[in-house]
Symmetry: C2
DNA sequence: TTATGTGAACTATTTCACAGCT
DNA sequence: AGCTGTGAAATAGTTCACATAA
């Protein structure tokens, strides 16, 4: 670590780089230049190089970056230990989509538990996990699960967040459009598909 | 428009402000101060004021912002005409979640069409829309639909994007983890839930 | 009083250009 | 020759403090 401060934007891009590297790896490549990687991640080459330079010298001048090594380094930076576990709360359409989402694999984590409050869903097996009653959330940390995904209706989001915090969860990915309040030590990342769609018309000429 | 250049970040926040205003409106309030609104949107009061100031004087000193008027102004800025229409491509779990998502309403658009390539789904009515064969995408612009949401598997994303561009769609919200290539005049906003989840461990101490 | 609107200072991030390895 | 790594310059975005208006 050669710089004291790493931009948040750099951290935001690292998973995207990792995804690009996974694609290149699947194509059988061993190493890649920042120019080539740029085509896959929508960031200019010098930004890619700068981003990596915050953490060390990962490349070889005249050659590029070794894909396997670079991937490993990024995973280490992001704290993506193999077998990182996450839980899902809310097994509706969105939750089911999350459970079925193939994109998590390359980041080395698995959704290990799913919760819902609907008796019709509890006990059902979806993919590898069985849906548990939402009251079982307090067993999470005991099971080594520190992250959770909230995919419940807006009205229930805060209550679920409270349960997760009480259970000791340290990070939350929130899909509900409601801002949820948590203690500062808990990190929340929110995604609201509607707010993203809502700025699209701004960029569309006239209409 | 008093400033020549409006920050992209400001545009990104406008839909969030709109959402906060909708909540306050539901609570029956008529006007709101930047301090109060700040509690709802996770942005500091002075940033809220600065953001609005790029577009005009929307508030009243000593009083605050009229909720109805401010909402209307933001919608105008974002080009959210009432009855803005969007199409959905891919009616799997994720697509179904999008169709059922209640959060679009406040932005004044509706999902007016849905497409899939699965015969078992085509013809089915989900909510207000009937699923159409994906080959019907070329009718979109004729029907006044300029925006589309891609919720298909990664492998199909680029092909769907090509069809949408050919059909004349001007904005795309892309849920697949694949970067899609489109002409510059078409705006793409991408959401990959895995990349967001992947940076959560970075912010979680030790573990 | 109260709360907006904003220039100026500050901080963060991106871009450039090129020195330095392999 | 090719491609990384990085200071320095440029740009973008945030924060502050306060003049200004209701």
């Amino acid at each position: 670590m050669r710089y004291s401060k790493i931009p948040n934007e750099t951290i935001r891009r690292l998973p995207i780089y990792l995804r690009g590297l996974a694609m290149l790896d699947r194509q059988g490549l061993k190493s890649v230049s920042s120019d080539k990687l740029a085509d896959f991640v929508n960031a200019p080459p010098f930004l890619i190089r700068k981003d990596f330079s915050y953490f060390g010298d990962f490349g070889t001048r005249g050659v590029g970056y070794d894909i396997t090594n670079l991937s490993r380094q990024i995973k280490k930076i992001l704290n993506l230990d193999p077998g990182h576990k996450a839980a899902l709360v809310g097994v509706g359409n969105l939750g089911s989509a999350v459970l079925a989402y193939p994109g998590f694999k390359i980041y080395g984590f698995e959704i290990e538990a799913a919760f819902d409050n609907d008796d019709a869903k509890i006990g059902k097996k979806i993919g590898r996990v069985s849906v548990e009653d939402i009251s079982k959330i307090n067993t999470l940390v005991k099971r080594g699960i520190m992250m959770a995904i909230i995919a419940v209706p807006e009205e229930a989001a805060q209550q679920v967040a409270d349960s997760l915090v009480t259970a000791g969860v340290k990070g939350i990915l929130n899909f509900s459009p409601k801002r949820i309040a948590v203690p500062k030590k808990v990190k929340v990342i929110s995604i609201d598909i509607a707010t993203d769609l809502a700025r699209l018309p701004y960029y569309i000429p006239s209409s």
